[in-house]
Symmetry: C2
C-alpha cells in the first residue's frame, strides 16, 4: 500500500461540504487502487482570519509543506471583503502560492458532452472544446516590486504595481507548457502583449527560444486582446495556452465560462518537487453555503488532478473522472447544472451516486 499525506484546506462557504464529499470519493478509490490517504486539516481564508487573525497561519503553511499534496476548496465571502489587504482571504491564497512556490497553474476548460447546452455559445462553436491554460502563478504584476500607493511631488496619490518577469521565470513556466503540450495535441499558443509591453517582448523572445528544444510542438503567439476575441469566436482553435499571471487569470476564467458550467472545473497549481495545490475554479459561493446545494464535482475532479499530476497515480485519476462522467450520463445534476428531464441532487446525494459509480 502506498500512503499519501494530504492536507485538506476547506476554507470558506461551500468549501467544507465539497471537501467532505471528495474525501469519501478518495477513500473509495484508494481502496480499489491500494492507496492510503492520511488527511490533515488546515485553516485558510476567512475561517483562518476569524480564528487566528491571519488568512494563512504559519501552521497551515507548515502542514502543507510536509504533505504530498494539498486539496483546497475555496476562500472568501462578503464578510471579509472590507478588511485591510494583509487580512483578506485572497492574501492567504497568494501567500500559499508564494510559500509553496506554485509557479505553474494548470486550468483545463473542457466541455463535457452531457453539458454542452449549458454554454452561452452555440453548440457547434463549443462542442469538443478542450483547452488547457498554463498560467504563471508566482510572478508578474501579482508579486512585482515596487508596489503600493505613493504620494507624488504635487500631492497626488499614485497607485503602483510592477509587471515583471525574469528569464528564469519565463523559462520554467515555458518548459511546463511545452511538456504539457507534448502530452496533448502538440499545439501551444503563447499569449502576451509584446506590441506594447517590454516584459511581454522578453516573454515572447524566451518562449520562442525555448521552442527550438521542442521541435514536435507547434508554437504560435497571440496578443492578449486578440486571444480574448479568439476564445469567444472559435475556442476550438486552442489546445494549450501559456501566459503570465494576470493574463492567465483573465483568460482562464473566460475559457472556463465558455463551458457554461464552472461548477465542473478543477485546477492544479504546482512547483518543482514541492506539494501541489488542487482546487476548483469556482468560488466559495457564500449564498448557498451549508444548504447542501453545492456542486462537488469540480472539487472531486481536482482530486483527480491531484492523483494525476501531483501523485502520479493516473489509474486512480481515471477512475474518478470516469465516475463523474457516469453520474452525468445517468442524468444526475446539482442545481447549477440542472436541465429539463434530469435528476436534481444535493451535494451529499451527488457524493453518494459517485461512490456507487466507483
Amino acid at each position: 500500500t502506498q500512503t499519501y499525506q494530504i492536507t485538506l484546506l476547506p476554507g470558506d462557504g461551500i468549501g467544507p461540504e465539497i471537501i467532505g464529499v471528495t474525501v469519501k470519493v478518495l477513500k473509495a478509490v484508494g481502496q480499489q487502487c491500494d492507496l492510503e490517504f492520511k488527511f490533515t486539516e488546515g485553516l485558510i481564508g476567512g475561517v483562518a482570519i476569524d480564528q487566528t487573525g491571519n488568512p494563512l497561519p504559519q501552521e497551515t503553511l507548515d502542514i502543507c509543506r510536509e504533505s504530498d499534496a494539498v486539496l483546497l476548496a475555496a476562500i472568501g465571502g462578503y464578510k471579509w471583503d472590507n478588511l485591510p489587504r494583509h487580512q483578506r482571504p485572497e492574501t492567504g491564497l497568494l501567500g500559499l502560492r508564494a510559500g509553496l512556490e506554485l509557479f505553474a497553474n494548470l486550468r483545463p476548460a473542457k466541455i463535457l458532452p452531457q453539458l454542452v447546452d449549458a454554454s452561452s455559445l452555440k453548440r457547434n462553436i463549443v462542442e469538443g472544446v478542450d483547452i488547457m491554460v498554463v498560467r504563471e502563478l508566482t510572478g508578474g504584476v501579482y508579486f512585482g516590486e515596487p508596489k503600493g500607493v505613493f504620494s507624488t511631488e504635487n500631492g497626488q496619490q499614485r497607485g503602483v504595481n510592477t509587471m515583471a518577469y525574469t528569464d528564469a521565470e519565463i523559462d520554467r513556466i515555458g518548459k511546463v507548457a511545452f511538456e504539457t503540450a507534448q502530452k496533448r495535441n502538440k499545439k501551444l499558443c503563447s499569449v502576451d502583449k509584446a506590441n506594447v509591453l517590454e516584459v511581454s517582448q522578453l516573454w515572447r523572445d524566451r518562449v520562442t527560444a525555448l521552442s527550438s528544444s521542442y521541435p514536435d510542438i507547434e508554437l504560435s503567439h497571440l496578443y492578449v486582446d486578440n486571444a480574448a476575441m479568439q476564445l469567444v469566436r472559435d475556442p476550438k482553435q486552442f489546445d494549450i495556452i501559456v501566459t503570465g499571471n494576470l493574463f492567465g487569470d483573465i483568460l482562464s476564467d473566460a475559457a472556463a465560462m465558455l463551458t457554461g458550467s464552472i461548477g465542473m472545473l478543477p485546477s492544479a497549481s504546482m512547483g518543482e518537487g514541492k506539494p501541489g495545490v488542487f482546487e476548483p475554479v469556482h468560488g466559495s459561493a457564500p449564498d448557498i453555503a451549508g444548504e447542501n446545494k453545492a456542486n462537488p464535482l469540480a472539487q472531486v475532479l481536482s482530486a483527480a488532478m491531484m492523483l494525476r499530476y501531483g501523485l502520479d497515480q493516473p489509474i486512480a485519476a481515471d477512475k474518478i473522472e470516469q465516475a463523474v462522467f457516469n453520474v452525468l450520463d445517468q442524468g444526475y445534476r446539482t442545481g447549477d447544472i440542472m436541465s429539463e428531464g434530469m435528476t436534481l441532487l444535493g451535494c451529499q446525494e451527488m457524493g453518494e451516486v459517485l461512490l456507487k459509480s466507483i
Copy 2:
C-alpha cells in the same frame, strides 16, 4: 455653413479603401446638413515608416493638433512586425494617443438586429446587447515608468513595465464614464483587480468617491477575471464598463467579438478640448488589402461617432447611422458579414448603396 478641418490618417492595409468610402459619405451628409469638411491627409503606421522611417512623423502630429477631428483607419502589417519597438506601427498609434492626450476611449459593442446570427453566442444571450466600454487610454501599464529590460545582479534579464494610476488620472476618466452613463441607462460597472493590485484599490476608491456626485448612476464593481466571465455568460447585464488601459484593451475586444461582426464597430478616443481620434475597432487586414473586399461600415460609423462626440453634430451622426442600418435592412453585405440570401458587395459598392441611402 459650418466648416470643419478633418485630418485623415488612412494608415495601412485596407485603410485607404475604407477611408475613401467614408469621405464620400461625409461629403454627402455634409451637403444635407450644411456642413463643410476640409480634409488633410497625414502619414501614420507602416506607410509612415516606409516613407519617413518614423511611425508618427512630427508633421502628422502637427496636422492633427490643428484640426477639429481625426479620422484614423488602421495600422500595421506583417511587413513591419519585426522592426525595433520605436519603429513599429503600434508605437505610432501610442504616440498619437499620448500626443493628443486622448485619455478616454469609447468602444461601443452593440449588436445589430440584422447581424445577430453572426455571433458565436446564442441568440437569446446576445440579442439586444448594447455595451459601451470606457477605457482609460494614456495611462496604466501602457505608459508607466520605469519600463524596459534590465539586467539583474545575478546576470538575469528582467522585463519590467509599471502599472500606475494617479488620483487625477482616475478621476478624469471616471467623470467621462459617469457622464456617459447619464446619457445612457445609468448603470456603470467599474472593472479592476482590487483584490490583488494596489493600483486597482486606488482606482476603486476614487471611482467610489466620485459616485457621490452622480447619485442617479448605479455603480457596481467587478474584478477583471469575473468581468471576462460575465461578458461571456450574460453580456446583457452591462450598460457601461469603465476600466484601465490594459483591462479595457482586453475586455473591449472580448465585448466586440460577442457581436460576431467586428467589421461593424467604431470607436472614439478623446481628450479635453483637443481633437478626438475616431477609428474602427478592427485592424488593417493586410490579407485583403487592395482587393475591394473590405467592410467600410466600421469606418463610416466612426465618422458618425466623430460627428456625435467630436463635433457635436448629432443630426448628421444620426443620418449616417440610419443609412448603415438601412443598407443592412436592404440585405447588402460585405464578405465578412455575408450570410445566405443576402447580396454580397465590395467595399466600393457598399459605399455606393450607402450614398443612395443618405
